[in-house]
Symmetry: C2
Subunit: 451 residues, 2 copies
């Protein structure tokens, strides 16, 4: 969101665009960080947005600004752009950024851009595109700072001067004759060591690295665990291929968290791409609803079944929403604790019993509280105390079972190597409704016979 300072600047930019005030506008934009310009651009009207680009003549700056934008906006900009212009912007980007952008764009368009890119750069970008999405190889930056182990500290410092085009340099990677990664040195260590020493004498040989095929989640976990600023990526022969920097890891972590949140509610990040296309968004969300729909049909059967069998069915039907909502909530609470706990590495699947047992006990406590409450409230409906005892007892068992399902289903999915967030929520909702109503009416039926 725009903070107040940026909002003022946005209004200023709007005014200058409308007045076509080239020089003042260029001055304002030159002083702003690309990330801020990106925010301003995304808040302009379509017309102003097209105009603003003509005031930023430096292509590398345009590329920087575009990279700070949301995926939706990046796609929109490149889809509207002349292929030659697009190719020249892509050439301005680091290889990892260029391949990131290209992955967002439909295959046909991709080709029309690539034909205008010079062979050298194409090689780098195509190599990255070739790695599976979400792999370390796909997101690594191939422009890094590496030197042979025989280099002296003095020589390395001199070479650093020449590497001014490289961004985010904090480590110097040390390689051997075969380009294999053999050591690492922080810039600070470079400063602190005597100039005549060889890198092989001063480097740390115990380098944390990942393989090009490792998953980006694993990369993020390593960077977080060891507090790294960058992680070298190597191929199957341990040759250095690229680096992944901490700023990219922050994006991975945020995206992964968003994905978990979206998945648990049956929506998707990609929706953002279809801002004005309700049909496409509905198509993304419907599968989730359909699973629930089928599940709830069974709940319908349960109701039909008990209608002829439970005395005073109408009274009991009044509390169905409470039974279903409590079961649903208790189940989703347990499921959330398990799913997020697993994502954070806090739940050990070797100790399943302990986790499920804890959730069931919590469910039991909450079941007693809600059971007693409902037991007190229910007789107010028709003055029959028996009804209170019955529905209170019934909802207790329904909640107890819901806490078990809520904990158990995600664990089973994880054991089956499936993403627990995907199937858990709609499945648990529907399943808990069916079992909850079955337990509710069965207990009610049995207690009615006894009391």
């Amino acid at each position: 969101m725009l903070d107040s300072a940026l909002r003022v600047k946005l209004e200023n930019v709007k005014k200058l665009i409308r007045r076509n005030a080239k020089v003042p506008l260029e001055k304002v934009l030159a002083k702003l960080h690309p990330a801020d310009i990106a925010l301003i651009v995304s808040n302009l009207s379509d017309l102003d947005r097209k105009k603003i680009w003509s005031f930023i003549t430096d292509r590398s700056r345009v590329a920087e600004i575009i990279l700070e934008m949301d995926d939706v906006d990046i796609v929109r900009i490149f889809e509207e752009m002349d292929p030659k212009m697009a190719a020249s912007l892509l050439s301005e980007m680091e290889s990892d950024d260029a391949s990131y952008v290209l992955r967002l764009i439909p295959k046909e368009k991709q080709q029309s851009f690539l034909q205008y890119i010079s062979k050298d750069e194409l090689l780098d970008v195509e190599e990255l595109l070739h790695y599976p999405e979400d792999s370390a190889g796909a997101i690594m930056n191939t422009a890094y700072f590496a030197m042979h182990s025989d280099t002296t500290v003095k020589e390395a410092t001199r070479l650093l001067h020449k590497a001014e085009h490289l961004e985010m340099v904090f480590y110097l990677y040390v390689i051997d004759d075969e380009k294999r990664l053999v050591g690492v040195l922080s810039l600070r260590q470079l400063i602190l060591n005597p100039p005549e020493k060889k890198l092989s004498e001063v480097m740390i040989t115990d380098v944390v690295s990942v393989s090009v095929m490792d998953k980006e989640d694993y990369v993020a976990d390593l960077v977080e665990k060891y507090d790294l600023l960058a992680l070298p990526v190597v191929d199957e022969h341990h040759r250095l291929c690229g680096i992944i920097t901490v700023d990219d890891v922050i994006d991975i972590i945020r995206d992964k968290a968003s994905e978990d949140i979206y998945t648990m509610a049956g929506v998707k990040q990609e929706e953002m791409m279809f801002d004005n296309q309700p049909l496409k968004i509905a198509r993304i969300r419907l599968p989730w609803l359909l699973i629930t729909f089928v599940g709830e049909l069974f709940a319908g059967f349960v109701i039909t079944y008990f209608q002829g069998r439970v005395q005073d069915f109408l009274v009991f039907s009044t509390f169905m929403p409470i039974v279903m909502a409590m079961g649903g909530n208790v189940g989703s609470q347990s499921a959330t604790i398990i799913i997020r706990g697993a994502a954070l590495g806090r739940i050990d699947l070797s100790n399943v019993f302990k986790v499920v047992f804890r959730e069931v006990r919590v469910g039991a406590v909450m079941g007693i509280v809600i059971g007693v409450l409902l037991g007190i409230v229910a007789p107010l409906w028709n003055g029959d105390v028996r009804i209170g005892v019955i529905v209170g007892t019934a909802i207790f068992f329904a909640m107890l079972f819901a806490s078990f399902t809520g904990a158990f289903v995600p664990i089973v999915l994880m054991k089956m190597k499936l993403d627990p967030a995907v199937a858990s929520t709609p499945f648990i909702t529907a399943f808990n409704d069916v079992t909850g109503l079955t337990i509710y009416f069965t207990v009610s039926m049995l207690l009615l016979m006894i009391l």
Copy 2:
């Protein structure tokens, strides 16, 4: 979670502890990263866990290991520890880490530790404890690398040699006579500039900084937006007080995402502290259930009201679970998109109408699909085609309204400066059940009159 390599090491450590093999165990532990030892320790039995500490004699290393552990484990360790030992471990930590640990520990215990800490260190730690939790002041590190603007590049490089105790040095902060922050220089720029130049000549004066009272979320946003490795923290006179490094920001981002996920399901991160205390966990989760409980009582009233008014009530009651589940799902989908979109800064509250309108259109599309489906399925129950037309139409309107509520409620909460994640889900669930059932029975009643 433990990866396979670490699992092997864990088994090895277990064996060595049982054999009391001091020397080999010390060797194994010396080679491991503190983060890995922390993982191993948290996977040991209580008995082994107590023993392992006697094999790590270096206190600063013990402090490092403890800091890598989960909050739950940190609290457990310090609560069992002798206050003198605790104080000596806290003294080994950076001031931000020490105050982080102290914040986790109950006030009484805190005091028993603090009396054994030397006055100098106490001053730093108490200053940090004094800032509100979640503020930049509370999480900043007071050990940073800063120099006067008159210092030469050569002198700065020499001083860097002396600052070996400082961790995570990537920027050199430049201050004036009053300790006010006036510039910044990366280590790389330090290397690249001629030794005789003054820092004031080579520094960047446009420094991004935060105030001690700024929220940690804001800090995280800035670091992410500008791809920073560290952010200086200043007081109201713009004096440099500390720095916040990117590794801490990663923790903030992960914690914030967890908090959002937990809040939306009515659970809390703190639960982890009460692993074996179902009563305490239930107390955390119950408020959420109680809100829903009260809401669903109203759903009960709605059902009672329509029981005497809708013909064939029993047939219609069969589809209540579908109506409620569809409304609930559609509502939570819309709410999730809005809540996460706002957290990521993707939803602009100045354009509320557009967002709500999109969600309602998506709800309409899904309502039509589910309505038609239910219209086809429902007559299978009792062979009456009219029932299909009626429940199909009714569920369409219920879903349409649910998508509106799902989008509108979080926006209203945000406009009221409340956290939309807190109240949204239980409130939306209950509210959608009540309105969904009301719409469903009203439409059914009206259509029954016409058809």
